[in-house]
């Protein structure tokens, strides 16, 4: 369980490591709220599709596996999108390969509970990246955070934080190149942190001694 969580949230994060779902990542992350909406929707679909795929993994033969996955995911996405439109407002889910990737790589080989948990954690990892990237772009571009909350939580909700003077903002952040740059910075930051961790493990005496006694 711990390993699954770690994989989804950090080591194998769908946004930062697998780099799947780039298309929605770039298009939708102009604000925190947009990122949150897509993140939640994706998490829901991922969890549900992983669960379904895992449940049927012994029934469906290998040769029709992919079409069946596609059908399951397409129906789930449509259903989640309808539900989101009914209870929140105006959300567009851009399906991405992260979902079918998890179905194939994890859910079709594992029992239902771990598969469900994997979906939740992968979704959470994706959501985190969307939130951070959306936050960066919104802050630089508009000088706000959490603007447009009424789109998700109904009219009247206004939890907008005005952090920087809105003098037009740093336009590049909002344009598509801003998303690439932001994502690049995030990936770089993750790699730096990973390398630091690795080095620390290597230089601690305990790690050295345990490395010296293989087996």
């Amino acid at each position: 369980m711990r390993e699954i969580a770690l994989q989804g949230l950090w080591k194998n994060n769908p946004g930062l490591v697998q780099l799947l779902g780039l298309c929605p990542l770039l298009a939708v992350t102009t604000s925190v709220i947009n990122g949150l909406g897509l993140g939640l929707a994706t998490t829901l679909v991922l969890a549900a599709s992983n669960l379904c795929v895992s449940l049927i993994r012994n029934v469906v033969r290998a040769e029709i596996r992919i079409p069946v996955f596609v059908m399951i995911i397409a129906s789930l996405v449509t259903a989640v999108e309808l539900a989101m439109n009914a209870w929140f407002h105006d959300l567009l889910i851009v399906t991405n390969c992260a979902i079918i990737g998890r179905a194939e790589a994890f859910a079709s080989r594992n029992r239902p509970l771990p598969a469900l948990f994997d979906g939740l954690m992968m979704g959470a990892g994706f959501t985190l990246v969307l939130l951070v990237l959306g936050g960066m772009r919104e802050l630089l571009g508009h000088g706000t955070l959490l603007a447009g909350a009424d789109m998700m939580f109904g009219a009247g909700t206004d939890i907008t934080l005005h952090l920087l003077a809105d003098d037009g903002g740093f336009l590049l952040a909002l344009l598509p190149p801003g998303a690439f740059l932001g994502l690049g910075l995030l990936v770089a930051a993750k790699n730096v942190i990973d390398r630091r961790l690795e080095r620390r493990i290597q230089t601690t005496p305990a790690a050295i001694s345990s490395a010296a006694q293989p087996g």
Binding site: A62, I64, V68, A74, A79, L175
Partner: protein, 235 residues
């Protein structure tokens, strides 16, 4: 997968695979159908509520007492309303008297495509409000036309064809009365022109707009507008 199959088994396996595929197709379609059914009413009422809120942004609710989205007329005027598709006009009345209309014209020449507008006009031709409902202008440059981003669009409140004079219905750079944005003239120019054209249209067709029918079609060849049956109301 080097298992050798008995040839006789292959059709059977194909049938099973096909059956499974069909089963999942039915299940998937079923899920979508059930969800659609469960959410249809909520989505419709959401859309209505949203529409009403937008309409009330350009025409305050105390100006009229009828149900706006049940009192509409479809019109076409490519030149003045910016689209060769039909455009919905919501008609506001107090009792039986027409008091205002909300038109849904398009500014066809935005920087990145058409800009859809809501334009509220009093019966006497004074603007009660203008809002942008959909556009693809560049964030940070052209999107200052949104009411959430700047007050620019509220500048239209209370204006009419004579105020400012018609020759001043342009952005400053073109010698008119309306501010452009720094580094973005195309977008405001398109909106100002569309609003002015909408006022021209309203001035020309006001009385026909409030007649008791659902569609008004202007034909190119100069003969008068004719009725066209129109069952559905675009929402």
């Amino acid at each position: 997968m080097a298992t050798i199959e008995e040839p006789a088994r292959i059709p059977q396996r194909m049938a099973i695979a096909g059956g499974l595929l069909a089963l999942f197709a039915v299940l998937g379609a079923g899920l979508v159908a059930v969800t659609e059914d469960a959410t249809r009413e909520r989505i419709q009422s959401n859309e209505r509520e949203y529409l009403l809120r937008s309409l009330n942004d350009v025409l305050p609710a105390d100006h009229y007492d009828n149900v706006l989205f049940e009192d509409t007329i479809e019109v076409i005027d490519a030149e003045l309303l910016g689209s060769d598709q039909s455009i919905t006009v919501y008609r506001g009345r107090l009792g039986a008297a027409p008091v205002a209309a909300i038109l849904t014209p398009v500014a066809p020449d935005g920087y990145s495509g058409p800009i859809k507008l809501l334009v509220g006009v009093d019966y006497d031709g004074t603007l009660t409000g203008v809002r942008v409902v959909a556009h693809r202008e560049t964030p940070g440059l052209g999107d200052a036309i949104e009411a959430e981003r700047s007050d620019w669009i509220r500048r239209f409140d209370g204006l009419s064809l004579g105020n400012p004079p018609q020759s001043a219905w342009m952005v400053r750079r073109d010698g008119g009365d309306f501010d452009q944005f720094t580094g973005a003239t195309v977008t405001p120019r398109a909106v100002v022109k569309a609003v002015r054209n909408t006022l021209l249209y309203f001035a020309q067709y006001r009385d026909e707009l409030f007649e008791d029918r659902r569609a008004l079609v202007e034909s190119e060849s100069g003969d008068n507008e004719r009725d066209r049956p129109s069952g559905s109301v675009e929402e």
